[in-house]
Structures are given as structure tokens and as C-alpha cells.
Symmetry: C2
Subunit: 219 residues, 2 copies
């Protein structure tokens, strides 16, 4: 059978690949940001930005007129990649050093979200994606803010996840070497929140902020 | 004066831009991974991978024959982006929600590193980039491992950093609202190392592993 060269089929270490949408969505939802790639007259450009997901769509936003959003609105292909780092894999051999990670690569085309209800729903999702439960506490977008914000939705046409977990994998003959090997777990962690200096000191810290952690923030 | 449209000139929020190589290099060196973007017959592709830096060059590596490395070796343009997340910025208004971050976007072309001395020096840099001090402890690449690994070097032709730090910035009239606002600091943190199950329990945990933290790992 010929090797599948479709854009989302993982070529290197295919045993780490996963095409299940549940796996892919979980990675997208845990990641606070994504990296968006596009080709601008043949020049690759990769921009980090906040994202959100509704169903099979990735949402991006920014001020109107930005290069990324203009490019997406023009209907060009984009590639959106999210990556979560879970650990350093320190092998006995230099060659088998690796990382534990979960990543998702999504291909699709975008379009501007113009319907006012959909656009406001998207704005809510950006806030809720980062800090679930916060939207109802904040001052919501006014007409001017709504107007200067551009929201784009990208249908996830093709997507794949790639995951490495577990311990070191060394060559058989290297296990006897007196070299420390193991995994250093990594996680994006939040420290206690720092209240704004201009905040009325009587303002209660809401539950969605107290004890916030990126990896466990999903309700 | 006409707006500079060069590929590395930051168009959105230019007050956050920095073109100093010292700033850019510090961000590259702290990041454990980068996201590499390339255009494959007009299709943007963004791949997360481990990197290292020597002087004005970004080094990437992988098994020979991978799509990314083949593309770089062919002399095409790539865009390498690294991003460090430093905090959630929780404003009183939905509109002014943001992140504190440091990112660098690098444009350049690559070439394969074929000189054996340079290639071994690059392999050392990948290990030392992740865990300074580890190279001298590990079993170094043998002839077979050396042969199946491909290393590419990308000259940093154009680069820019973008940084947001500091507190919330709200609209003047919103400061009086009884809404909690502030910053939740974020950092990629390591937990204590987990020794490999097959490790001789008498093996001492070396200093480069004990107390390892990504943000402070540089010597």
C-alpha cells in the first residue's frame, strides 16, 4: 500500500499519531495559545495567538486590519498547531533524549464571523477558554470594541495529534551503564493571582481566579 | 513615512516590538521548543520541535528523510517562532483581557550541517539546550546514530521579539467597577525528577537534574 501523503498524515514516528477528534479537541482546549501558520506570497509566517474552539471550528481574533486576520479572511489555507509540554525524557544515550508532549496540527480555511450573535458568542468563548466562569463577571464588549474586533472561524478540515508519554527508551546494551536516566515532569503552572493595584481592596477574589491552574481549568 | 512592511516588522501593537538580538536570543534560549513554519506547495505547515542556538544560527534536527528537514535542506524559507507564557491578564472589561508573554519570530533559510565536527557540536547543543551540564554524563552518539540524524542550521536573517509585561490596562471609566482584575502569573515548571525503573538504585541523581527548572536552567 502506498504511503499516505495527505497533509495531516504523520510521517515521522507514525506510532505516536492519533486522528481521533476527542484526543485532538482535548489538546486544543487545554492549550492557552496556538501557533498559526500561513503563506504570504510564498513566505511562511507563524504567529502565536489566543484561540478558542466551538465544535469543529477554531476561533481566532484580533484588531481589524491585522496581517494574520486579513490573510485568513481572504480564504487562504492556514495551519494551526498547539503543543503541550509534559516532560523532559533524559535517556542514557544522547540519541534517545526526547520530550513527553501532546500536540495537534489542524489544517483548514477561515472566514470572518460577521453575524453579531455568533461574533459575541465567540468573544465569550475567548474569555471562557482562558478562564472558565469569568465572562459573567466582566464588563462585556461595547459597540466600539465590538466593531474594531475581527473574529475568524477556521473549519478543522484535517487534523492529527501526536503524543509521547511514558519512560525513557534506551538501547538494550545501554541499560547497564551507570548513567542517571528518567523523566522530569513539566507543566505550565499558575502562581497565586496578583490583584491590580487600583482594585478596591474589599473586592472579593472570585472562585474562577482562586486556585486557577491551566491544566485543570476546564469545567 | 510609509509603514515598513518588511516581513519581520511588527504591524500590530508595534510598541510591544523589540529588534535587539540580545532580547531575541534570550527568548530563544529559554524556550524548550519552537514552532517551525514552512510552505509546502502553497500549503502552510507548522511543526513543533526541539531547537538550539549557536550564535546567529538556529539548529534543528531529526531523523533523515523527514518532511520538515527535507524542506529546509532544499533551501526554502522557514519561519521559526518561540513563545513563552508569563501570565493571564484579567481586565475588568472582556476587551482588555490579554496575556503576558515573550515571543520571537525568526525568518531565514536553512542548510544541512554536513561537517562532522559541526554536526557533533550541534548534537551537543541540543542536549545542553534542554539540560545544561548533561552532555558529559551521557553515552554520546555512535556512528549509526550520527548517520541517521539530520541537522540543519538556519541563519537568522530577520527577527523580532514581541513582549507584554505588567499589569492590567483598563478603560478609565472601568476602574470604578466592582470587578476583580489582576494578573495570574504563569510559568512552565518542573516537578521532581522520576528515575527510570531500570536504573540501579545506587545511581546518584546528578546536579543538572536535581532542582531543574526550565526558566533558570541557563548557566
Amino acid at each position: 500500500m502506498p504511503k499516505d501523503q495527505s497533509r495531516h498524515i504523520v510521517q515521522r514516528l507514525p506510532k505516536r499519531a492519533d486522528y481521533e477528534r476527542t484526543t485532538i479537541n482535548t489538546i486544543i482546549d487545554e492549550a492557552l495559545i496556538c501557533h498559526v501558520g500561513f503563506c504570504d506570497a510564498g513566505q511562511p509566517v507563524v504567529i502565536p495567538t489566543i484561540h478558542a474552539r466551538i465544535g469543529n471550528q477554531i476561533l481566532l481574533h484580533g484588531l481589524k486590519g491585522g496581517r494574520l486576520l486579513k490573510h485568513v479572511n481572504a480564504g487562504h489555507d492556514v495551519c494551526i498547531t498547539v503543543t503541550l509540554l509534559d516532560g523532559l525524557v533524559l535517556a542514557r544515550s544522547a540519541f534517545h533524549h526526547s520530550m513527553n508532549y501532546r500536540s495537534a496540527v489542524i489544517f483548514g480555511k477561515g472566514r470572518e464571523v460577521v453575524d453579531a450573535t455568533d461574533k459575541m458568542a465567540a468573544m465569550q468563548r475567548f474569555v471562557e477558554h482562558l478562564t472558565p466562569g469569568r465572562w459573567e463577571h466582566v464588563r462585556q464588549p461595547n459597540a466600539k470594541e465590538f466593531k474594531v474586533t475581527s473574529v475568524v472561524a477556521i473549519d478543522m478540515e484535517d487534523a492529527s495529534a501526536k503524543v509521547r508519554t511514558g519512560p525513557v527508551s534506551d538501547e538494550d546494551e545501554d541499560y547497564a551503564l551507570p548513567i542517571w536516566a528518567g523523566v522530569v515532569p513539566l507543566e505550565l503552572m499558575a502562581s497565586p493571582p496578583v490583584a491590580d493595584a487600583k482594585l478596591d481592596p474589599d473586592t472579593r477574589t472570585p472562585e474562577h481566579v482562586t486556585g486557577y491552574q491551566p491544566a485543570t481549568r476546564k469545567k
